[in-house]
């Protein structure tokens, strides 16, 4: 994979893991493609359960989490991560954008809330801010 556009901050971007949790295939694949386009490894999950099963702590990265999902919702996943003591930063990306939701996800430990559809630069800035990397620069 060509990584020419990759700029390196205070870590090794190649070891970055961006977890994408969204039950909507099109949205998940779109985000994954965007992450790939800046030379970072995207790890897409169609459900919160499968993500939580495979989550490996210790690697640098962040989580892009959808809220509206069957069975285990984004809220459940946030609560679970908090419970597990995960240190991975979480960026919630949802079409549902209201004060209650924002406040709730903040309380549950999300670093950032982005409303769908989301601009690529805004997303990358959010990842960079959350992780300290400088993707897409």
């Amino acid at each position: 994979m060509h990584q020419g556009n990759l700029s390196v901050g205070n870590g090794d971007e190649r070891s970055l893991a961006i977890y994408i949790v969204d039950d909507d295939d099109d949205v998940r694949f779109g985000f994954a493609r965007l992450i790939r386009s800046v030379g970072v490894n995207a790890r897409p999950y169609a459900s919160a359960e499968s993500f939580l099963d495979e989550l490996v702590e210790g690697e640098p990265g962040c989580i892009l989490l959808d809220l509206t999902m069957p069975r285990v919702t984004g809220h459940h996943a946030l609560a679970r991560l908090k419970q597990l003591g995960s240190r991975l930063p979480v960026i919630v990306i949802s079409a549902r954008d209201d004060e209650v939701t924002r406040a709730m996800v903040r309380d549950l430990g999300a670093k950032m809330f982005l409303r769908k559809p989301v601009d690529d630069q805004a997303l990358l800035d959010a990842i960079n801010w959350a992780t300290g990397f400088s993707l897409g620069r």
């Binding site: 909507d24 099109d26 779109g30 493609r33 999902m69 549902r96 769908k116 989301v118 690529d120």
Partner: protein, 743 residues
């Protein structure tokens, strides 16, 4: 003093009494001459008795002679009386013979007074005392006989001849009662006169020791005559009794007749056409508008007729005089009290042998009530809001009402006699002619064109939707059909309007529903937009790589196209739900409708943490329906189910189940695990404005009912055995018309 002195005065008195009685009868009744003749005879016989008595006791020959002379006068009168009685009372005997008897006897009075001492003797020389039976003597003359006595004897012989002739002619020409009377009278007269002759012979011979007398014989004649006349009187009395009895009977009959015609309110009338005289019974006068004291007046009668009715009545009578003589007519009378009454007259003209009308007679009766009833019936028909027509077997219109004029735009004059096929639009006309013939053949009361839409063609060529009911009416001139026509354009308009309102309400309810779903819908639209944006921006970045990663760019573009379509689909679905189109029924797969609904509501259910379980029977037969409206029903049911589970903390699950019904339709069940429905509400929840929720106006399920009904289906709710409720609806199979279409 001997028995002669008693018997002869008695005979005389009897004769005179009878004579007096009949004289009295004649006097009272005037024209009965027979009684006068009897009286004459009776007086004469009475006189004879007196003369004979005096002669039998005469002291000298001279006295005897004078008495005998004068005795011939009553004798002559007696004979004339007998002849006249026979002629006048019995009307037999030859007139000339009778007159001859009278003439000869009267002529014999001349020698009686002019020759000798009397008709019998020229001279009575002495009287001898003749002993008689029973003791005593009577005087008998001795003298020279008068030759003129033959004249007197001749008259007696002629009388005998007259009587015998009368007897013969009476028995020959007549029969029965009258013949018996002729034989009795004439026979007894002849008999008594012969007896008298025999008596005289016997006395003269000396065989009979009795006075020489004629009186007992003539008294017998008198009694015979009296019996005859008395019989007449008896017969008259009998007749009078019979007459009065039959008069009473007649009066009785008249009274009964009168009572009957009065009771029936029938007036009787007759008119003598020759003498121009009219008679009208009391009831008749009252019916014809005459006051209690008014007399019949023909001119006034015609004055009181309603204008125009007089001519009609007279032409009816004139026609009867030309025809069979019978006539009947109905006319109006304006009475003195100002009331108009309908009168029916029936009558008959009587003709003589030359067919000259002599008399008309008949009855009148009042028919105002009947006319009123007829008028009311006519008005009922006329003012009926349904158009009515009578059509005869030939298909010609014979009667129409006002509404028929309005519906068809023709006047009644134009409709009368018109072929009913003219009122059928041309494209149906051929078919109608055939069906009309078939109907008449098996006429029953039914509606026409079952299941078809019928149209009438108006005079201006426009068409109106109608409903028709047919009733056969069997009459003398074949089977007519009473056709009731209802103009249903107004109803059709109202149907359309209510369908419109229904659609509008359904739409309104959809809008409310979509407002509730707005968050979810935004999400549904955001997903593809998010994918598009990410893919597009990723593609830009891949193009900037050197070399550009065209594989990724191609995949991006493919995804963009797909998600654009997906977004378009969401918008299309949304627009469909928001559109206010009239219902559009097409063939549908119910499972598709269920999946459509899930796409719309998916994110909402996710937000509410509701899991959807699908249990769809594959390969369902298509049903016919409006996609949007059925989606609306399902949306409502699913959202209601989700609402019902708001307080459920465990897994919230909605099961959507479809299956084919026994009759080939489709049933959809939406099952939740919520709070269930209170039993008393299980029917009520489908009524408008009934809601068990805190939000919403409670129209959702009522609209669902209305939609399912227009799909000829049913909708109902049940509580689940475990928990929650299930709402079901069924849509019948294509072409199943066992459920009526709700309009």
């Amino acid at each position: 003093m001997n028995w002669i002195d008693i018997v002869w005065p008695m005979m005389g008195a009897a004769s005179l009494t009878l004579a007096l009685i009949h004289l009295l009868i004649w006097f009272k009744q005037g024209h009965q001459t027979a009684h006068l003749m009897f009286a004459v005879t009776g007086i004469s016989v009475g006189a004879l008795a007196i003369f004979e008595l005096l002669m039998m006791t005469a002291p000298t020959a001279e006295t005897y002679s004078v008495l005998l002379r004068w005795m011939h006068v009553p004798f002559a009168l007696m004979m004339i009386g007998i002849v006249a009685f026979v002629r006048l009372h019995l009307q037999v005997g030859r007139l000339w013979l009778g007159l001859l008897v009278c003439l000869v006897r009267l002529v014999s009075l001349l020698p009686d007074f002019l020759t000798g001492e009397n008709l019998n003797y020229l001279q009575i020389t002495a009287l001898r005392q003749v002993p008689i039976w029973g003791g005593g003597f009577v005087a008998a003359p001795i003298g020279v006989a008068n030759p003129w006595m033959a004249l007197g004897q001749a008259s007696v012989v002629l009388l005998m001849v007259f009587l015998v002739d009368a007897l013969v002619s009476g028995t020959r020409h007549t029969t029965g009662e009258y013949r018996r009377r002729v034989i009795l009278i004439c026979g007894s007269m002849i008999g008594f006169m012969l007896l008298s002759a025999l008596w005289s012979l016997a006395v003269i011979n000396g065989t009979l020791h009795a006075p020489l007398t004629v009186n007992p014989a003539f008294l017998g004649v008198l009694l015979a005559m009296s019996y005859e006349l008395g019989g007449d009187i008896l017969r008259a009395a009998q007749l009078a009794r019979n007459l009065s009895a039959s008069e009473a009977l007649l009066r009785d009959t008249e009274q009964r007749m009168d009572m009957a015609v009065r009771g029936a309110g029938i007036g009787l009338w007759s008119r003598d056409l020759v003498h121009e005289e009219s008679w009208v019974s009391e009831t008749g006068l009252r019916l014809l508008g005459f006051g209690p004291n008014e007399k019949w007046d023909r001119a006034r009668f015609y004055e009181r007729l309603h204008p125009g009715d007089g001519e009609m009545l007279q032409s009816a009578i004139a026609a009867a005089m030309q025809g069979d003589g019978e006539f009947a007519s109905e006319y109006r009378i304006v009475g003195v009290d100002g009331r108009t009454r309908w009168i029916m007259v029936r009558g008959q003209v009587e003709f003589d042998e030359n067919r000259t009308p002599l008399r008309t007679r008949g009855i009148v009766s009042e028919i105002t009530e009947r006319r009123r009833a007829e008028e009311r019936l006519r008005l009922v028909v006329e003012m009926s809001p349904t158009a009515l027509m009578m059509v005869n077997e030939q298909g010609l219109i014979t009667l129409v009402n006002r509404q028929a004029e309005i519906v068809f735009g023709y006047s009644r004059q134009e409709l009368a006699g018109m072929g009913v096929d003219t009122l059928v639009p041309e494209r149906y006309r051929g078919r109608h002619v055939g069906e009309r013939g078939a109907y008449v053949a098996s006429a029953t009361t039914r509606s026409m064109g079952a299941g078809r839409e019928l149209f009438a063609r108006r005079k201006d060529g426009s068409e109106v939707p109608i409903e028709i009911a047919l009733s056969p009416i069997h009459g003398d001139s074949g089977t007519s059909v009473l056709v009731s026509i209802t103009d249903i354009s107004e109803r059709k308009r109202a149907d359309r309007e209510s369908a419109l309102q229904r659609d509008e309400l359904a739409h309104l309810s959809r809008v409310v529903l979509l407002a509730e779903l707005s968050g979810s819908l935004a999400h549904e639209l955001n997903q593809p937009l998010t994918a598009i944006l990410s893919n597009a921006q990723a593609a830009v970045r891949f193009l900037a790589h050197s070399p550009p990663n065209l594989d990724e760019v191609r995949d991006s573009l493919t995804n963009i196209v797909e998600n654009d379509k997906r977004a378009g689909e969401v918008i299309r679905r949304l627009r469909a739900l928001l559109r206010k189109d009239p219902a559009d029924h097409r063939r549908l797969d119910m499972n598709d409708v269920v999946l459509d609904v899930l796409r719309i509501i998916r994110s909402d259910l996710l937000n509410r943490n509701v899991e959807v379980v699908l249990d769809l029977e594959p390969n369902l037969k298509p049903i016919e329906g409006d996609r949007v409206q059925l989606q609306q029903v399902l949306l409502n049911l699913v959202m209601n189910g989700a609402d019902a589970m708001a307080d459920v903390s465990a897994s919230r699950q909605i099961t959507l189940h479809t299956h084919a019904t026994d009759t080939g339709g489709v049933q959809v069940s939406v099952k939740d695990v919520g709070s269930g429905i209170a039993e008393e509400d299980i029917e009520r929840i489908f009524s408008p404005f009934v809601t068990t929720k805190t939000s919403g106006i409670g129209l959702g399920l009522a609209v669902c009912v209305s939609i399912i009904q227009t799909h000829r289906g049913t909708i109902w709710a049940t509580n689940n055995p475990s928990r929650g409720a299930t709402l079901h609806f069924r849509i019948p199979a294509l072409g199943d018309s066992s459920h009526p279409v709700a309009k």
